[in-house]
Symmetry: C2
Subunit: 291 residues, 2 copies
């Protein structure tokens, strides 16, 4: 069994991007990070993104609209950023307060600055295998993890557990694409799937993204499979200072010994997300510069 | 074995739309049909669409740019139709001449008039399960055939043969949606799939859309399956006046006896396409009127 080390792979990507940014003469790529309100998880996510941007040499612009901001005020702010020639990428940190329609907000971000890949048009481009769009960061990170670990999906059966818009559907569309590294046969399972273990046991590559702690057990995994665990769940643990521990959607202790390769949680898919956001920001910069 | 009669189901839908249009006071829905050049298949498709529109009471406007039209001239024409308040839906008949970039043309049609559902934004909306978009006509027709034949996909294993942008991918996304009639577990197979018969034999519902005549044989189908045959292939047949016969992607004589239900070719999925185009045109009319 080999561990797929997301921290290490993400660090390699960050170093590559650093080199690319250092070679730029003139203006550096700029990422606008919009964080509405003070959700503690959002605060920590945005801080991490700001820190990685600084490492790479990407300028970040932090915008902190108060939690009371209305949807139309938020739209006006996004319209300003969309029109701002100095801004290459825009990320609106979720979760947003309940009075805001998240999908409408993601759709308001100009497609060519949508480095989070949540705009409907960019999702459509993933289906169309059109490289001018942006792939959302978690599915893009999964494909990078696989590619950089030497896993070629061609002719493999890829089973995706979960049909979310953020992970399950886009990663299924990516695994299916007619291109080097992809070309997988893809099955998507979810809460309404019958005989789930019969299907997951067929997976050469199993991608678990359902948000249920340690849901995937050894009997659901074929010996020699590659397992990608997208879940990040908090499980109460009195032995920890924080009172909880982080666990994935996979029961790691029993599943890992069966696998050819597996991602740990934390330290697997998680670290890739920020790296892919930075990669998208550089892509946005280059696409805009080329126009 | 029960035959799913596409002609009959399409006729029911056409009659429903007729009633709806008859009840409209004021302006009738208008569909612009753009046919560039004189490809014989295109001529016959557009004629069929015009005829069905007339039956329903939808106004059609036939526009016939010559085969020598440049892409920018075609764009200018589409921009005019996009801006025309009298036009509800726009269809550009494919195939287009080789000097035209089809995907770019489909993207030029305003999303709110894209009754063919080929615009990237409308494809993204299918992934997002957003009902304000348009589903392309063949996959929408397949879902209607299933629904009106009493086939509920919930908990069923749906295997899609073919990953095309026009059929395979959108029908997979539709079958997967979290809504009544859908909720299937979906597998998408294609030319790079290993052990294909092992996978197709798991299908409760098998959707064949690969464009290979009589490719699906009895040994690939589970007894009691529902089979939807999307293929329309011409096979040489000296016994026919035309010199060919039409056949699907399924070897009907051997497969049909094993099935619970199956669509014939012709007379299965084919007739649904025009009916769904008309349904989309009415939807476009209502969405535009509601604004």
């Amino acid at each position: 069994m080999e561990l797929i080390d997301g921290n290490q792979i993400a660090a390699v990507i960050v170093a590559e991007l650093q080199t690319q940014v250092a070679a730029l003469t003139g203006r550096k790529p700029c990422l606008a990070l919009v964080r509405m309100g003070d959700d503690p998880a959002s605060v920590s996510y945005v801080r991490k993104k700001e820190k990685t941007a600084a490492e790479i040499g990407v300028t970040s612009r932090i915008i902190l609209p108060p939690a009371t901001t209305t949807q139309s005020e938020l739209f006006a702010l996004l319209d300003q950023l969309n029109a701002d020639a100095e801004v290459d990428g825009i990320l609106v940190q979720s979760p947003l307060p309940k009075h805001i329609d998240e999908v409408a907000v993601f759709r308001r971000v100009a497609p060519e600055k949508d480095v989070d890949g949540f705009n409907t048009l960019n999702l459509g481009k993933v289906a169309q295998e059109d490289d001018t769009g942006f792939v959302s960061c978690t599915p893009a990170g999964i494909m990078e993890l696989l590619g950089r670990s030497g896993v070629d999906l061609k002719g493999k059966h890829v089973v995706v557990l979960g049909r979310s818009l953020i992970v399950g559907k886009p990663v299924a569309l990516l695994a299916l694409q007619k291109r080097a590294g992809a070309n997988g046969t893809v099955t998507i399972c979810h809460s309404a799937t019958a005989n789930l273990p019969d299907i997951t046991r067929q997976a050469d590559v199993l991608i678990a993204a359902i948000g249920r702690p340690e849901f995937v057990t050894a009997d659901m995994v074929k010996p020699g499979a590659v397992v990608i665990d997208v879940g990040i769940n908090r499980v109460p643990d009195p032995a920890k200072k924080t009172g909880y521990r982080l666990t994935g959607d996979v029961h790691f202790p029993s599943v890992a010994p069966r696998c050819e390769k597996i991602t740990p949680v934390p330290g697997g898919v998680g670290p890739m997300t920020v790296a892919m956001l930075m990669k998208n920001t550089l892509k946005a910069f280059h696409l805009r510069s080329a126009r």
